[in-house]
Subunit: 447 residues, 2 copies
Amino acid sequence: MSLTNASPVDAARAAKSASHVLATLSADARNEALTAIHAGLTAARDDILAANARDLELAQQAAADGKLSSSLVARLDLGKKGKWDDMLQGILDVRDLEDPVGRVTLRTRLDDGLELERVTCPIGVLLIIFEARPEVIANIAALAIKSGNAAILKGGKESTESFVAISRVISAALEKTQVPNGAIQLVTTRDVIPELLALDEHIDLVIPRGSNDLVRYIKNNTRIPVLGHADGLCAIYLEQSADPSMAAEVIVDAKTSYPAVCNALETLLVQDSALTTVLPTVAEALAAKGVELRCDAASKKALEGTVPNLTIVDATEADYRTEFLSLTLAVKTVSSLSEAIEHINTHGSHHTDCILTASPEQAEQFMAAVDSAGVYWNASTRFADGTRYGFGTEVGISTNKIHSRGPVGLDGLMIYKYKLRGRGQVSAAYGAGEGKKNYLHQRLPLG
Amino acid sequence: MSLTNASPVDAARAAKSASHVLATLSADARNEALTAIHAGLTAARDDILAANARDLELAQQAAADGKLSSSLVARLDLGKKGKWDDMLQGILDVRDLEDPVGRVTLRTRLDDGLELERVTCPIGVLLIIFEARPEVIANIAALAIKSGNAAILKGGKESTESFVAISRVISAALEKTQVPNGAIQLVTTRDVIPELLALDEHIDLVIPRGSNDLVRYIKNNTRIPVLGHADGLCAIYLEQSADPSMAAEVIVDAKTSYPAVCNALETLLVQDSALTTVLPTVAEALAAKGVELRCDAASKKALEGTVPNLTIVDATEADYRTEFLSLTLAVKTVSSLSEAIEHINTHGSHHTDCILTASPEQAEQFMAAVDSAGVYWNASTRFADGTRYGFGTEVGISTNKIHSRGPVGLDGLMIYKYKLRGRGQVSAAYGAGEGKKNYLHQRLPLG
């Protein structure tokens, strides 16, 4: 890992060159580098936490002056219970995942002695732009090395001391391994993002980890593909046949178990025939958790006066397009499955949406027609997560429609190449006409 | 299919809405639409060719006035031998391909009664911007419907009469099918490209089929992902152990069988120890085909005076970055495999590159280290083609590093969604702590 004051173009060129070495290293060589990083960080714990304490002190001062939010200050703190150990364990967890490089995903015999193979390989150079959380640098370095990608890291300035301390340790650890130092580069110079975004010749993918505004700014200012981690405006459709207590449990979990995250519930669509049969049980459970409902007229009428301690506010149209990220839930009445689907496809963010129903037909129709990365039947939207899906780790959750959708694991950092092995075959020998050969196009086993 | 004078945003909204219907149609329903289009076009042959003749007449006049290239005029002509029949057969070929929609690519049991499934699905709405070839509209309509995607088509103005005639027929044919009319829309209003490129809320992927300038313009002016069909600067590395006559055949095929296409050879790298042993046989074969060589000093010295009728020009550095698309070949001497790999990775276009060698070790090292969509051993670069790879058809050849790389078939028009089927499970029940459950993460068979 280099801590670079090089110009963006030199940093990107060095990363590209390192990516070509990294792409040919064995899984063992890449895994050994992760072991070395883990050992280095373990040994340097006190120095890194001291650097982090200096970041924290400045940030607390800035927060006291009203220049920084206290939630950002909280995210800066590497000394918080469990955070350091989680960061270190995360490196070993990534190391122990199955190797994503070199998997054969297609084999075709084009002709005798002419065999085509599609093989997974790293994308090349990733540019990762993130905010102040200092542990991200260790996670990203681990994911990049495991997947054979070089990475240029540009972090939020509030964590500079922590970033520099961590990257010095990673750099020293990599010195003893086959991973070239240029493979992971921390850019600490200021205001380089516009220059980096212009380097589409050297950088293959941008991954912004931060606010919606950051993602949109980046998409507007680069030709490089962007793996966007968008917001989540998740909906649940409560169908009339849903079991009331099951529905209450799922909706309470989806809304209240962690309201500030992208897979939390924001809109509840209720079938009109469920308003007085299923909804009251749900509303009672939500009221017990302090959830405020923004209701349309029909759902307000069904609930008003029937559930104690329930706060109901009249919904506006804007509420059905709002990611509250708090204990507020928009409620809307629909007459049918197709109206629910239509609402979700036009108002949602295509993240994760759910139907609660006892009918398999309704469920399958919902899951086929809703255009979202996750479509669920009788399960909380909060399951939308790489770790919960069994991917071991996640780069983020994508609402992109190409490459990678939903929780993105190591697979999302891979592409493929086609290898063709022949014996001197030429294209002019095949096709229509006298003496020409036909392609066999025989599918071969992948083993 | 609609022939639309609607505003771009209305056209895109209609396409999005149609895409939601299209995504839920059965394979039979989509295939029947292709059968109907085929029948409609067959019946309307004379009308369409008459419209095409009107386009052609205007274009010929423009060419005579020096306002249009004659090669563009040639591409306009639907009446050219075989073109009409190929266009119609292409629709049936696409129809008969395996259905790309609804393939299960991952199944995981998260817990008892909580099963995750990753299923292929259409991307949504494609925007296809293409030049004047009128048959493209039928090809694209077939690919889009087969893959369950809606498409907005914007073609070159020189083919307007042909496009309108074809789209009227397709529109009438679709009326009798389950495919909604808004699924395929031809935009004929002028100067709408900038507006379309701003509609990232409704359009999911832009596919430009045209010049490099067009692709670059589009990448610079949209947040929508672009599937780029870039140029090809393909290289062959001639290693000392390569059989001379095999090398001559492959290089002649790669350079001369169709010099104007992206998978044609542009740069020949020769190992220094092969200059006097293998290269002369290759140069002789190239001279017989009229190929001019742009040589560095060492290769010039090796060839000068030894091969009759060979044209040798001194190479400049620019020649090693030039896509000649003609019977000109840049030749450069390298001392080793690693120098060849380095040259290709820094000078090439990451399209298709080849090594000619008798050594499996050299070949495997080359194929692992060269960062291109196609890496070949003893086979002509001209095999880089969707039809030759057995994909049935191709949308184009991508040098992108994400989503789809190399020849892009129907698979490149697909993404996936995650379906999760539960019984009311909630996320708060899992994790660390007393009474919490662990995820099973049990991989299930895909069948």
